[in-house]
C-alpha cells in the first residue's frame, strides 16, 4: 500500500533528491547513499519509501534512481515543487482518504483509514504521526488547510 511513512520529513526529501541527483548523477546503490548521507536505516528508509510512493524515485532491489518526476522536482521553483507534491499526494494515503472526506477532524480520518484498511497509523503513536503528516505534507503542499474543527481540502 502506498503511504507517506510517518517518519518521512519534507526536508529529508529535498536532501535525498539533491544528493541522488547531484552526487550520484541520478542513480546509485542504497548502501552508497547511506554512506554519503551519513545516516542509518531508520533515517534513510522512511524517506526512500515515501519518495518512491510519490513517484519521485525508483527504489528496487537495493538500487535507487531518479524518476522523471523527481528530476522535474529538482529543476522546479518553490511553487512548482509544491504542485508536484500536491498532485502526487492525491494518490497515496492518508491523503487519498482525506480527499474523499473533504473536511474532517483527526478522529474521523483515523476511523476512515481503519475502514479503508490502512494500518500505518493504527498504533499507539498513530494519532500524533497522522497529525504531523497532514500538517507537514498536506498544508505545505497547499492540498489541505487547517480549520477550527480539523482539516479541509483546498479545492
Amino acid at each position: 500500500m502506498d503511504v507517506i511513512d510517518p517518519d518521512a520529513r519534507i526536508a529529508d526529501l529535498l536532501g535525498l533528491l539533491y544528493v541522488l541527483n547531484n552526487i550520484f548523477e541520478g542513480k546509485t546503490d542504497l548502501y552508497q547513499l547511506e554512506k554519503e548521507m551519513e545516516v542509518d536505516l531508520d533515517d534513510l528508509m522512511p524517506i526512500v519509501y515515501t519518495a518512491a510512493n510519490l513517484g519521485l524515485v525508483n527504489a528496487e532491489s537495493g538500487d535507487i534512481s531518479m524518476a522523471e518526476k523527481g528530476i522535474e522536482y529538482i529543476k522546479s521553483g518553490m511553487n512548482q515543487r509544491k504542485q508536484i507534491i500536491r498532485e502526487s499526494l492525491k494518490n497515496i494515503e492518508p491523503f487519498k482518504t482525506a480527499l474523499a472526506m473533504r473536511s474532517f477532524n483527526l478522529e474521523d480520518i483515523i476511523d476512515k483509514l481503519k475502514e479503508n484498511n490502512v494500518p500505518t497509523f493504527n498504533n499507539p503513536d498513530g494519532n500524533h504521526d497522522l497529525e504531523v503528516i497532514l500538517i507537514e505534507w498536506g498544508i505545505y503542499s497547499r492540498l489541505l488547510k487547517k480549520t477550527d474543527e480539523g482539516f479541509e481540502v483546498i479545492s
Binding site: D5, P6, D7, D29, L30, Y31, E34, D40, L41, D42, D43, M45, P46, V48, Y49, A52, N58, A59, E60, S61, G62, D63, I64, P119, T120, N122, N123, P124, G126
Partner: protein
Amino acid sequence: MEVGIKDQRITNSILEAEGIYFSYDNGYDVFENINIEAGQGKFIAIIGPSGIGKSTLLRILGGFLKPDRGTVRLLGKPLYEPIPEVALIHQSIVTFPWMNAKENVMLSMKTKDMSKNEMVEKAKESLSRVGLDGFEDLYPKEMSGGMRQRVAIARAFAADPYVFLMDEPFAHLDELTAEGLRQDIYNILFSGETPLKSVIMVSHNLTEVLELADEIYILNNIPATVVGKVEVTMARPRNPRSDEFNANLDMLYSYLTPPRKKK
C-alpha cells in the same frame, strides 16, 4: 521459575521463537508468524524499517511481553516471563547514578544466594571482562557514555545469562566510542569464560550489524514478517570498507526494497 536449564535437550537451538503473532490492544497487528532461532554460539541480528516492531520483538523474546499466539523457548522449554538467564540490554544506557560501577553490577546478583564478598568479587570480574579494571569505584557521572554502557553489559554478564538480548546497544554512543566497543564486544561475548551461548541484537545500523552478526533476520511489511534470513560468512575481523562488505550491505538493502508491483 523452572525453565529446564539443567535439563537441556540435545539441540543446537538456544532461544527460538515459533509462530509469533502479536497485536496492540487497539487491534493493530504488529507481527504475523515470526520464526527466529538463535543457535549455539551465534550472534543474531534483527533489522527492519523504522517502526516495524524490532524492540517489541526483543521484549517478546525476553518474556517481557506475551505474544497473542506462538511460543518462545529457551533450551527447548517455553519461556513465559523474564528470567535471569535471558538478559536485556537497552538502547538507553541504564546505570544508577547513586551507585558506583561495582554496586551497579552487583544489582543483578541480588536475587542469588551469594555473600557480599562473593558479589563484590563477581562484580570486579565482570567489570574486568568489559575492560573496566580499576574503574570499579567510579560513579556514572565520572564515566563516559561508552564506559557506562560497558557497566550495563558487565551487570548483565554478572547474572550469568545464557542469552543476551541487545536493543540498539550502541545507539547513544558517538561513532568512535561505538566502533571501539563493537570491536571488543564480539570477543567479550564469546570468550568462552561465561555461560553465554547466544546473542540477539536489533539495530538500525547495517554496518554495525554486518560487523557483528552470524545470521541476520530481515523484517518488513505490516504486519511484520520475516522477509529474509541471511547467513554472514565473511571472515572476522570484518572490514566495512571492503568490496565483500559492501556486497553484503547491498544484499540487505535489496531485501528492504523488493521489486514494486506493476499497477
